[in-house]
Amino acid sequence: MPDSFHPSEVTIEVLRYDPADAGGPRTQSWSVPYTPDMSVLQALQYVKDHLDGSLTFRWSCRMAICGSCGVMVNGVPHLGCRTFVRDFLPGPVRVEALAHFPIERDLVVDAEDFIEKLREIHPWIQPKVARLIEEGPYRQTPEELARYESFSHCINCMLCYAACPQYGLDPKFLGPGLTALAHRYNSDSRDGAKDERMELLHSEEGVWSCTAVGYCSEVCPKQVDPANAVNQNKTASALDWFARFLPGRS
């Protein structure tokens, strides 16, 4: 029964953008049937399936693991599949492409910068010591695992980049998520490529563009805590700035 707590419909407002349109982005609204369990992604899919097939957005798993459906909902970065319309009643629910990225079309952003930086951090284990298959698997203690585990949960959804004003002001910044990923490998006892990743982190575009706003960790859907990864590395980078002058260092 529709009532003030459960309306029968809700208004979805989307910032639309057609690259062929010289006028720039414009807002378009639709009335969508409401159920208490519907996600923002489902609302967008309703629009696309029944009201306007041209609405363009990324999505895949519908279960907060693929990282595809990141959008701004009422100005805050969210995963569309994990964000419920009931939390934004009475509406309208305003949906926009992830902040700090150029808009390709509607809710799709140009993520090329993120992808390029992902390559730069060499996100794979480069073993400290070469190991043969015959030697069996690596062994790690629970403490060794704990040092990097949370940072390995990143799903590359880029919500933290949409939250980070420093990335918005200067896209040369490596950014929260990828610093956390670099830290994941640096902190893994199997990996030996810390020095080459630190070169990136020590630079102005590395950790030193961060001002500890902390919003990245607030919006992360996987509790990766990228703010912690970046700021831990500030201390490491600062100490290394002096330690490099000590004898015995190359």
Partner: protein, 118 residues
């Protein structure tokens, strides 16, 4: 080879100043700016005689120097980054204005404290 940032030096000074001001800032502001002028306890914290005696020895000098200098370096670093946040171009001029001021405060404080003698 990506050039290393030199921010670490200023960041460490910022951190030291931030920690010191977080620990004793409230107490100092209360004592020097409210208690002493209004005659509240702890009284006589700012009498010329006591303060002069305090700053005549190395420990007193070091404390006063640390407070003035580190608070200034803390402010300089944060203000420099806030200018950037507000869209103000932060080139060499901004660095000079911010960090240069902190350096000036540091030098003047040292000079004044040394002038007080031992």
């Amino acid at each position: 080879m990506r050039p290393r940032s030199n921010q670490p030096v200023f960041w460490l000074l910022f951190g030291a100043g931030g920690m010191l001001s977080a620990l004793v800032g409230v107490a100092l502001v209360f004592m020097t700016g409210i208690a002493a002028p209004l005659g509240l306890e702890p009284r006589a914290v700012m009498s010329y005689g006591d303060l002069h005696a305090f700053t005549r020895n190395w420990a007193g000098k070091a404390f006063v120097f640390a407070v003035i200098s580190l608070f200034a370096w803390h402010g300089a670093h944060r203000i420099y980054h806030t200018l950037h946040d507000l869209g103000v171009p932060t080139g060499f001029a901004a660095k000079l204005a911010c960090y240069g001021t902190a350096l000036l405060v540091t030098i003047i404080a040292a000079e004044a404290l040394l002038k007080i003698g031992f």
